[in-house]
Amino acid sequence: MKRAFPILGVLTAILLSYALYQALVVAPTERTMGDVQRIFYYHVPSAWTAFILFFINFIASVTYLIWRKPAADIVALVSAEVGVVFCTIVLVTGPIWARPVWGIWWTWDMRLTSTLVLWLIYVSYLFLRRFSSGGQTPTLAAALAVLGALCVPFVYFSIWFFRTQHPQPVMGGGGSIDPRMLHVLLINWLAFSCFAFLVCWSRYRLEKLQREVEEAQALESLTEAPRSAR
């Protein structure tokens, strides 16, 4: 397992550089938007990765509520943290792309608003984890994660009712895309997913070690107390 981590790291680095080359050089230039459109290869894969991570967070939280395994709790924490990072990338690259294309940084349309609300929900999840202390944190956080996930369809449907400026989803939205562009997009998505997995893995190990250290310290202070009293 320990050797797998650097190997995956090197593979991810190669994949990310290849994806960058594909996005900046190989992919055809979009006819109306020009080179600005190349941000698409970062914007969309980040969004997909964030959604997947939030879904993992939901599954891990339900798992924790049923079986109470600490590992499930760590997975939930890690996926929410990394998901928020990727969601932030989406929210930052979106306006950068929108400014030259739509002429505005931000518009309150369906997709932008629903992504922002999703981001808010998971930031509040991280807040709860930060502000609660002791052994109850995993349970409270898991309960919030379940309610947060229940909220997602409502966010989607309520904001769907407004007019939308954002293009239809690339997948299953009836939009058409150049197959070469799709190819580059999928390569980028693969690279981003590998990167997210790598970050999650290292964060998982860090969190696990941190908890072990905390436990050891607590145990130590318990055994030391009578000795100093003597």
Binding site: S124, F127, F131, S132, S133, G134, A143, V155
Partner: protein
Amino acid sequence: MSPPSGITRATLLKDLRLEWRSKDAINSMLFFSMLVVVVFSFSFDPNAEESRQIAGGLIWVAFLFAAVVALNQTWARELRNQVLDAYRVSPAPANSLFLAKAVGNFIFVTVLEALMTPLFIVFYQLRALGPAWQLLVVAMLGTWALVVNGTFFAAMSIRTRSREIMLPLLLFPISIPALLAMVQATTAILTGEGARFWIVLLVTYDLVFTTGCLLLFETVLNAE
């Protein structure tokens, strides 16, 4: 052991009696929402036609902020003298406690709305162009949506550090779809458009989140 409905009724009556004698929650909510109304009136110049467009949002934002004041007090009251711990070790089902608290908050916020709505109508010269009875339905559904989640998250935030700040941080993001539906439905009724979609959305939201909160409340109450 008394039946769950008996426990709900006893807790609810106790809360209502406490509130009737102290009037802490309702007074602070009333004053707070009045402040919001006055502050809002400075930030734009309301004339009848324009205010009809924004009144829906304004009313609900005032009620939401005011409700947080009452929601924060819900469980804080039970921390004194370890009442909540006593409840936790008793064999009484957790959900009857939750329902009592949620219904109690619902009553408080409804009273607030009943008292504040005439003031809104006077201040902003409102007159519904659509069917006004629908406003009542929207108010009921919207209040329940705020209160059921609010009671749940108040029980959660009471377990954290800086608990008064934590409640809005947890409650507002999850309430956004409900808030959007309430605001849109109110505006649609005031301006005379149809509000059916938003009412259906509110009903579904209420059903889903009431079920979710009831399923998870025991876990949260007993979290160690």
